[in-house]
Amino acid sequence: MLAKKSGQGVNLSLVASRGTSGAFGDTPQFGARGSGEDMRRSLVPAKIESIWVLIDAHFVSEILGAEPWLPIPDARAELPGVVAWRGRAIPLIDLAGPLGLRPLAARQARERTLIVSVLQSAAALPVDAAREVHVFPSEELRPLHVRSLPYASAEIDTEGTVMAVVDLERLIKDLREHGQAS
């Protein structure tokens, strides 16, 4: 069961040994991290509305339930507010805009919150669903073809569903540079 309270989420140092069936947190099956890390990529499938994307698992430190967030005036649509996490205010990053979806409205929450640590800082990604970490052989990652999304670095066709891998580092770097310029 997913913890609702900040700082008590699911530890992702373990990797699911099974496929991507079943919502993360329902009946996760954990096993040892796969061998041959250089040939594989561990990714967390996450859904925003109807779109599944993949987040590099090494960025994801916790998966929480719906987290209350506070809108910040004049903030960018991709960065609409903050979440309180471990005694800090961390930015809430809404991937809906880059995915061509309607941005998160004030007081709207998504059922899951991924806490990611990227470029030495934490951020919260609200998503509607997240599944257990899936280890993909690197040959399954291919250049963007079906999905043409900003901040996507590759795509994977899994069981007939094409999912983009989100380039979180580039997204957060852009957000920071924009913040420094403002």
Partner: protein, 144 residues
């Protein structure tokens, strides 16, 4: 001021359309009904901070803010409340939001972020074009 008091922060809080907002009350010298304000132009603090507030909210008050040697008037709309929080419940806004915003902190209550907190110095700088001067001889509704 006792040691315990120093660990508490008092905020004057207001309602916005999407977000509650506040400012440290120790920087508010006076709260004056708008009709009793006879100084110069007092800019709308929420508008300056980019916070949406209904223009029909009442009452309208003028706050006289202390910014060093200056006294800076701003208007605020709607009911106000006084909150007392631990200083540890005021969290710095992450750098991704920029360093020039009037909003620099958020307040946390029961573990949830509930208010944006304005930096009075930055607010005063943002309204610096407005009339700055000593407090008028108005009847204070209250003072901090």
């Amino acid at each position: 001021m006792t040691h315990d008091d120093s660990r508490q922060v008092q905020l004057l809080a207001f309602e916005g359309e999407l977000v509650r907002w506040a400012m440290p009350s120790q920087r508010v010298l006076s709260v004056i009904e708008e009709r009793d304000w006879h100084g110069g132009l007092a800019k709308d603090a929420a508008q300056v901070a980019g916070i949406a507030v209904s223009s029909t909210l009442a009452p309208v008050r003028v706050l006289l803010l202390s910014d060093g040697a200056r006294q800076v008037p701003v208007t605020v709309r709607g009911p106000l409340s006084l909150l007392e929080l631990k200083s540890s419940d005021l969290l710095q806004l992450p750098p991704e939001f920029g360093r020039t915003s009037v909003v620099t902190k958020v307040a946390v209550q029961d573990g949830k972020p509930t208010l944006v907190v304005l930096d009075v110095t930055r607010l005063a700088e943002a309204v610096t074009d407005s009339v700055v001067g000593p407090a008028p001889s108005a009847q204070d509704e209250g003072s901090r």
